[in-house]
């Protein structure tokens, strides 16, 4: 599934290149759960970024699913250390962000057999209707992008363009009137740009703005069926894939319209998980995601993660500081050295997901602690 092939990562500090990860070679099979342990600042985060395609390796390569990673992929999801939830988006929008940004998923048709799902779908359909209505009223929309639901911003762009055009047109018209006042029989070229360069500038502004508006109108009219189809599909997929995962993570509809700062730490964690899993990724990368939680919440989220991993069968890589977390979640545990990070030890962990109170669990923890010391 994932092949990390003699990977070397560096960051530049002025002239010299400081190696962060050096000559790391690792093969990860599909459905494995890898826990990565290592001293802080040893380059674990950079390693994750490289697997995700956010950082270019200076030599070596990362291959996911048979393809060399050179940019972020749809089927690799990343949860950052501070979760990266956007404070200006509600829980629903945060959770469906990856769908919204990447567009509809292929091979996920809409089926409305669940009653709750259908209700949600109709609720959103209604706002979609008003969006279309607004589109027809304003004539054009969409600064070249998909629109749907509550997106007043592109309408604002349109209206501002229209307003600017009106202002510029008004100025231009007053210039023409001045010419006509002084010379009622002015010929057309004098009327068009007889006022000198201010009038030519105004004419150009009016021309550009109006041609922009007209071309956008034509573009929107031509592509409207496609836009509507895509918008429909996207909403359907949001409802279909975001709602179940939010349900599964215990965030019901009372949470949908809240903002991240209104949630507790554990709930925020769940939203981040939902966002990562909404697109049904094959690989889930996590960068110390539970570090900020208290012990009680952390264990509950760990249980949740384990359950999701078993159910959905994705490959996961967890960077962590917590030895018990590594033993509980990692089917293979990788210990890294000080910077530059190399592999110090690889431990097979048969007791992944066993009860935290069992003997075997504690023996494994002890073994890992000896390895780290």
């Amino acid at each position: 599934m994932i092949l990390i092939d003699r990977l070397r990562l560096e960051y530049r500090d002025g002239r010299q290149a400081i190696p962060v990860v050096d000559d790391l070679h690792l093969h990860i099979a599909a459905g494995e759960s890898i826990a990565i342990l290592g001293p802080s600042g040893c380059g674990k985060t950079s390693l994750l970024y490289a697997i995700c395609g956010l950082v270019k390796p200076s030599s070596g390569r990362v291959i996911v699913d048979g393809q060399v990673v050179d940019r972020p992929r749809r089927d690799v999801a990343l949860i950052l250390q501070d979760l990266g939830l956007l404070p200006w988006k509600t829980v629903w929008k945060n959770a469906s962000l990856s769908l919204e940004v990447g567009g509809p998923l292929s091979g996920l048709p809409f089926k409305a057999d669940d009653e709750a799902l259908r209700r949600e779908w109709h609720r959103r359909r209604k706002s979609l209707f008003w969006a279309y209505f607004w589109l027809l009223v304003t004539g054009a929309w969409a600064a070249g992008h998909r629109f749907y639901l509550d997106r007043p911003f592109s309408a604002a762009v349109y209206l501002v363009t229209l307003g600017l055009g009106a202002i510029a047109g008004g100025f231009y018209w007053s210039e023409v009137q001045k010419i006509l006042n002084s010379n009622p029989n002015a010929d057309w070229s004098t009327r068009l740009w007889g006022g000198g360069w201010p009038q030519i500038m105004l004419f150009l502004v009016v021309l550009v703005l109006s041609s922009e508006l007209i071309s956008r109108l034509v573009y929107d009219l031509i592509t409207m069926p496609r836009q509507i189809r895509e918008a429909n599909l996207l909403i359907a997929q949001q409802v279909q894939s975001v709602k179940p995962i939010l349900d599964e993570l215990g965030l019901d509809h009372t949470f949908y319209d809240r903002y991240p700062h209104q949630l507790s730490g554990g709930e925020r964690q769940r939203v981040a998980l939902a966002r990562a899993l909404a697109t049904h990724p094959k690989v889930l990368l996590m960068d110390e995601p539970l570090a900020a939680l208290d012990a009680f919440n952390r264990e509950r989220i760990q249980d949740l993660l384990l359950q999701l991993w078993k159910e959905r069968g994705f490959t996961q890589i967890i960077v962590t500081h917590d030895v018990q977390e590594a033993v509980f979640l990692g089917s293979r545990i990788i210990v890294l050295t000080e910077r530059p990070a190399r592999i110090k030890a690889i431990l097979e962990n048969p007791c992944v997901g066993t009860s935290r109170t069992s003997e075997a669990f504690y023996e494994k923890v002890l073994e890992l602690r000896r390895e780290l010391a």
Binding site: P72, A77, L78, W88, I167, P198, Y259
Partner: protein, 256 residues
């Protein structure tokens, strides 16, 4: 509803406080100032009375000024917002353009007034031009700084989901810098009205400053002058309220 009530109560109390202070000032002037100057600060109720009586003649001045400020404001937003966002987000452009911004920012834009009059004529264009010129830099700098200080994780979380540049701007850079833009806008309303008063001193028939100046210099009519000042205050207040309301709607997440 409760919030709106608090909002209104705040405004009413503030206006009462303002009128109280004004009344105190007018009392002090009429009591202690020289004989000829005793009418210079009329009591607020008197000015209000004149304002209500004279509102018909004030309306064209009010709308002439309001139109200039509004147009300048819109123009400067349209110019400064995209440029500020792009400069703040793209390092290379920042390094390229910031020096020239720093060079032109401290110059008082009023010095360009003659140029504006020469190139844009004598009507509304140079007035709107000056207001735009004053506001653009304010908005540009604060937008740029806000776009510069976005936490890396916000951008990474969108990029790792496969976002294009446009998506990054739309989902992260723009909303992240909206609050800073609104506060810059609020600060610059005052500057816009100041610039407006300056430009209306030249070649204008309508405008609140024109009204105030005429009432003072032609007729020595302090009460009418204060009615004009009151109208100017109301103009500013209207802008503040509108911007507040828009901010409450656009930056909803800050008010829940």
């Amino acid at each position: 509803m409760k919030r709106l009530q608090n909002y209104l109560i705040g405004y009413v109390l503030g206006i009462m406080l303002f009128f109280g202070m004004w009344w105190l000032a007018s009392w002090a002037v009429s009591t202690f100032a020289a004989k000829a100057l005793q009418g210079a600060v009329p009591p607020p109720l008197r000015a209000l009375n004149i304002f209500v009586e004279e509102w018909r003649s004030l309306v064209p001045h009010f709308f002439a000024s309001g139109y200039r400020v509004l147009t300048g404001l819109l123009l400067s937003i349209v110019i400064a917002m995209p440029v500020g966002l792009v400069i703040g987000h793209e390092r290379v452009l920042d390094r390229l353009l910031s020096p020239s911004i720093y060079l032109t920012y401290p110059i008082p834009k009023v010095v360009f007034l003659p140029l504006l009059f020469v190139f844009l004529g004598l009507y509304d264009a140079p007035k709107i031009g000056l207001i735009t010129l004053v506001l653009v830099f304010q908005l540009l700098l604060s937008t740029r700084d806000a776009a510069k200080s976005i936490p890396k994780s916000h951008i990474l979380s969108v990029v790792s989901a496969g976002a294009s540049k446009w998506h990054v701007y739309k989902h992260v850079v723009l909303p992240a810098s909206l609050p800073a833009m609104f506060s810059a806008l609020r600060i610059s309303i005052g500057m816009a009205i100041m610039a407006l008063a300056l430009t209306e001193a030249f070649a204008s028939r309508y405008g609140l400053w024109r009204y105030i100046y005429d009432q003072w210099s032609r007729y020595g009519n302090y009460e009418h002058m204060f009615a004009g000042i009151l109208a100017m205050g109301i103009l500013g207040l209207a802008f503040y309220i509108i911007i507040d309301l828009i901010e409450r709607w656009v930056c909803r997440w800050q008010y829940v």
